[in-house]
């Protein structure tokens, strides 16, 4: 991000802010969707985060730290969205959660859906660190800095989140296998 642009926005320059919105929207939307897993919620969260950036950018002491700071604002909005939206109405073309379609673990649409369901069962704390680590590609130390959390907290959340995702994947794989076996037995 152009630091001069950030400085101009800090000075109240609306045209500079519009340029910042255009430049920053894809980056913020990517993380918002990665955490919220809902197209509409992610768009709403991105817009709110951009407005929060406009409102609070004067408090950013070091424009060089804009990127991490803006992620932090976005994550805060995502927390608020998740509190408001207890039940996630996905606009994704998801497979029904009631019946896994196949058991081809680690590849294919069915596994993506299993991962999706597993991810949605995670707490927001776990979603955020997982998305920052695996979607944005931040190191755990960078995640800790952005979220203002101790490193140990980030590491433990990552471990717990990965463990929960693996458990969800394996459990769904097993249940899918059982469902297929039962179906074949009926035939």
């Amino acid at each position: 991000m152009d630091q001069q642009l950030v400085v101009r926005v800090q000075g109240g320059d609306q045209r500079a802010f519009e340029a910042l919105v255009v430049a920053d929207q894809p980056r913020l939307y990517r993380l918002a969707y990665g955490v919220l897993r809902d197209l509409q919620l992610a768009e709403d969260a991105t817009q709110q985060a951009l407005l929060d950036i406009w409102r609070d950018v004067g408090r950013l002491r070091d424009p060089a730290k804009y990127e991490g700071w803006s992620y932090r604002l976005l994550v805060r909005v995502c927390y608020a969205e998740s509190r408001r939206q207890q039940e996630w109405a996905s606009s994704q073309d998801l497979v029904s959660a009631a019946e896994p379609r196949a058991a081809d673990v680690y590849g294919g649409i069915a596994d993506r859906d299993q991962l999706e369901r597993g991810f949605r069962r995670l707490s927001m704390d776990h979603r955020v660190v997982l998305a920052m680590r695996h979607l944005i590609g931040m190191t755990p130390d960078e995640v800790a800095a952005v979220l203002d959390l101790p490193r140990s907290t980030v590491y433990s959340r990552l471990q717990a989140a990965v463990k929960a995702m693996r458990a969800a994947l394996e459990a769904e794989g097993r249940s899918a296998t059982v469902a297929l076996q039962r179906r074949e037995a009926v035939r």
Partner: protein, 279 residues
């Protein structure tokens, strides 16, 4: 599946499900249409999270507000812009005194001495020393972070923060000294912040420990202020201070301070009232 395999599965899954962002011009249009109604706030307030590299402590010593001499360069005599003299003037002092006497006179007329403390059920101050008023300021300019403010997993919360303040002024020396603020806060995405604070004041003769106090930052950045109760310890044991605290924020937020007005008295607070449903 081991951890490494799971990590790569997650990398791949996030990549595969990464959507196209919505039309950026539409986003820009929506956001920019709301910008005129969204007031920009000043610098991040140190009272909230104290992340500022605090500037030097602010002092009320007016002598220190005088511009320092600037050496002449290139044969030019520099021009000092701004106030170079004290704000005090005899005319202002006389005017202020007249206003104080006028207000005092009106209050005496409104409540003659013989009618004081005659309200049914009111306690009298017979046999007790009158409360002593004081005022002062706690600046945040020299705030030093003593304990980190844990976020408790939610970036909108702060827990267990502790801050040591310097650069204080106080008209009653009993309430002067070193001040430590302990704070918890919950910040909401619309800009509201709810603070829970407690203070401890220590000096050579004793200490003051506050009861928890709560205040709110409104969405426009202003603060509700609060009235805090302090209990004396050691040399001040038995004394109570009731202090109205107003948070004053300058443009930009760097020079914010608590403006204190209160009383110190020897005795107890009135009994805690109990709210109840009346028939």
């Amino acid at each position: 599946m081991n951890d490494e395999q799971m990590q790569s599965v997650l990398d791949e899954w996030f990549d595969d499900t990464d959507p196209q962002p919505p039309n950026v011009q539409r986003t820009a249009s929506h956001v920019m249409s709301r910008v005129p109604q969204t007031r920009q706030r000043g610098r991040w307030l140190p009272f909230r999270l104290f992340r500022l590299n605090a500037p030097a402590a602010i002092t009320t010593d007016t002598a220190k507000f005088q511009p320092s001499p600037i050496p002449a360069t290139n044969d030019h005599t520099p021009t000092v812009i701004g106030r170079t003299q004290s704000m005090f003037s005899p005319a202002k002092a006389i005017t202020a005194g007249a206003i104080v006497f006028a207000i005092g006179g009106v209050m005496l007329i409104a409540q003659p001495f013989q009618q004081q403390s005659t309200m049914p059920g009111a306690a009298t101050d017979e046999g007790r020393a009158a409360p002593v008023e004081f005022s002062g300021t706690w600046f945040f300019g020299g705030a030093e972070r003593l304990a980190p403010s844990e976020t408790d997993g939610d970036p909108g919360t702060g827990r267990g923060g502790a801050w040591y303040l310097t650069g204080l002024s106080m008209t009653d020396a009993r309430f002067g000294g070193e001040v430590t603020i302990f704070d918890n806060l919950d910040e909401y995405s619309d800009g509201h912040v709810v603070f829970g604070d407690a203070w401890r004041v220590e000096n050579a003769d004793g200490a003051w420990q506050s009861e928890p106090g709560y205040s709110v930052d409104f969405a426009d950045g202003s603060n509700s202020g609060l009235t805090a109760v302090f209990h004396g310890e050691d040399g001040y044991a038995g004394l109570v201070a009731v202090v109205d605290m107003e948070l004053v924020r300058s443009e930009g937020g760097d020079n914010q301070y608590w403006d204190l007005n209160g009383v110190i008295f020897d005795g107890d607070l009135p009994p805690e009232p109990e709210a109840r449903s009346l028939p």
